[in-house]
């Protein structure tokens, strides 16, 4: 009887350790709070009247005194890394969009760039008309040597979910662009629209090598909250 009690206690302690570790890790690996697209009435498309929503994002080359970094626990990134120097998407990388809607996204791009590895990602794909607007001008593709980042939404590994693929390149700032008072240059504004379908979950990430380590896909490129995140269509 005494033995049964102690055996049970051992199991209980083991379960507590596992549960405690899981909760601690889940909390410390948390992603930024969800950013929901703002409803904006309806819009007339070739499919008739659909809901319309807008979303606004910015890409900064680093955090600074004038711009806070991502809203994630400090312990998430490498202990001694200076994550303040990493580029990131602001205000959040966890995005929520309405289903069966036309979504218009505006991204303010503040970072420099260079040559992208795969020219396929220098073209907008999956947007309305496969095009995008850069500072007001319609642009069907940009020079692969002048890409800053990309915003690429792609598939969750579930064949039951509706397929979605949207990829938009963001032009780079010139290396010698003058900085404004806030320490960043004048943003390049990129606008694009795409249709969402039935509810589903997706992920997005940047496809430009703006990280560090091997082929510059380490560091911020391999960390949620900076250059990658989730998209929920609900």
């Amino acid at each position: 009887m005494r033995r049964a009690l102690f055996a049970f206690l051992t199991v209980l302690i083991g379960v507590a350790v596992v549960a405690g570790t899981a909760l601690f890790v889940a909390k410390n690996g948390a992603e930024p709070p969800t950013l929901t697209a703002t409803p904006a009435g309806t819009s007339h498309t070739s499919n008739g009247e659909v809901k319309h929503a807008t979303l606004e994002l910015s890409v900064f080359p680093n955090a600074s005194s004038t711009q806070a970094g991502p809203n994630i626990p400090a312990s998430t990134t490498t202990v001694v890394a200076n994550a303040q120097q990493w580029p990131f998407y602001s205000p959040s990388t966890s995005i929520q969009l309405p289903a069966q809607a036309l979504v218009t996204v505006t991204i303010h791009q503040y970072d420099t760039g260079g040559q992208i590895y795969n020219n396929w990602f220098a073209k907008p794909v999956g947007t309305v008309g496969n095009t995008m607007t850069v500072d007001g001008k319609d642009v069907p593709s940009i020079a692969p040597s002048n890409v800053g980042h990309t915003f690429t939404i792609h598939q969750y590994p579930d064949s039951n979910q509706p397929y979605m693929y949207v990829s938009v390149p963001l032009p780079a700032q010139a290396d010698n662009a003058t900085n404004q008072a806030n320490g960043y240059p004048t943003p390049i504004d990129v606008t694009f629209s795409f249709m969402t379908g039935a509810p589903g979950s997706y992920v997005w990430n940047c496809e430009f090598p703006c990280g560090n380590g091997y082929v510059e896909f380490g560091g911020p490129m391999s960390q949620r909250g900076f250059m990658s995140g989730t998209v929920t269509v609900a």
Binding site: W120, H154, Q155, P157, Y163, Y165, N205, V215, S222
Partner: protein
């Protein structure tokens, strides 16, 4: 306390039976008289049947997402059956001895007791050893030969020589350059005006050949229901291929851990008719040269 079966005295040969029969046959017949041997053989047969039934279940699981979609996948499934049938008797025999011993067919001593007597002092049995080694070697050799032939068959399917068990295909093959990248596949059709796509679209019954590479780390190009897989290595081009034999939507997955979004590096293969394929190419802005 020994509870082994009563040991039947091997009967002397029937008085009139001549000694034409080889002595070994007589020994085997005698050995088969032992009750536990007969029981073990029956258990072996029963377990073999179960294993063979399970092989159908296994292949059933493999086909749950729409496969088999190509001759290669068919060969793989056939091989699953052959491998299982070949190994089943030996597996079953092993499990039969296991079961019989555990169930107490030769008796047992409860854990609370102490054993009081020893079992039979069988140091070895030449017949058993030789039989076992021979059977295992023959089965292994058969599996090797089968495997080598199968490998050659599907390799010829994959790499462009005339497929061994398909009709010679007069259709010009579709060549796709597959680029694996963290964390997306992109496909390039060089013969159709270099159109690019994030999804793979192929016409049915036309051989498709893939030049696979990676721009960063090692990925693995796995077209699940078509039964092909090849690593996408940086700095090298590897090849595979298949001929889709079924219309529908299938899965292309990455089968080598490649970083943050490895789990999400999945896209679709859509197998369509030739006309649909041609119009899809035109939609992407490509040229269709026949």
């Amino acid at each position: 306390m020994s509870t082994t079966d009563e040991r039947p005295l091997a009967s002397a040969d029937e008085p009139e039976s001549p000694t034409n029969r080889p002595r070994s046959m007589h020994l085997v017949k005698q050995w088969l008289q032992r009750p536990y041997v007969r029981r073990l053989l029956w258990i072996t047969v029963a377990i073999t049947a179960v294993i063979i039934a399970l092989s159908f279940v296994m292949v059933g699981f493999m086909n749950m997402s729409g496969g088999p979609g190509s001759a290669i996948m068919n060969e793989i499934e056939k091989t699953m059956f052959v491998l299982t049938f070949t190994c089943a008797p030996l597996m079953a025999g092993t499990l039969a001895v296991l079961t019989y011993s555990w169930w107490g067919g030769w008796g047992s001593v409860a854990s609370g007791d102490e054993p009081t007597s020893d079992g039979p002092a069988i140091q070895t049995n030449g017949v058993a050893v030789v039989t076992w080694i021979t059977v295992c070697s023959v089965l292994a050799a058969f599996l090797v030969v089968w495997g080598l032939v199968e490998l050659a068959t599907i390799t010829s399917d994959s790499y462009g020589s005339v497929p061994a068990n398909q009709q010679p295909n007069s259709a010009k093959p579709v060549v796709v350059n597959v680029t694996g990248q963290q964390w997306l596949w992109s496909f390039d059709y060089p013969d159709s005006g270099n159109i690019k796509s994030a999804q793979l679209v192929l016409p049915i019954n036309v051989p498709a050949y893939f030049n696979v590479t990676s721009l960063d780390v090692v990925h693995s190009f796995w077209v699940v229901e078509e039964g092909v897989k090849i690593d996408a290595n940086p700095g090298a081009i590897t090849n595979t291929g298949f001929t889709p034999t079924k219309l529908g939507t299938f899965n292309v997955r990455c089968a080598e851990l490649c970083g943050l979004h490895h789990a999400y590096m999945e896209t679709k293969l859509t197998v369509v008719t030739q006309e649909q394929f041609t119009s899809w190419i035109r939609e992407q802005g490509g040229t269709t040269t026949s």
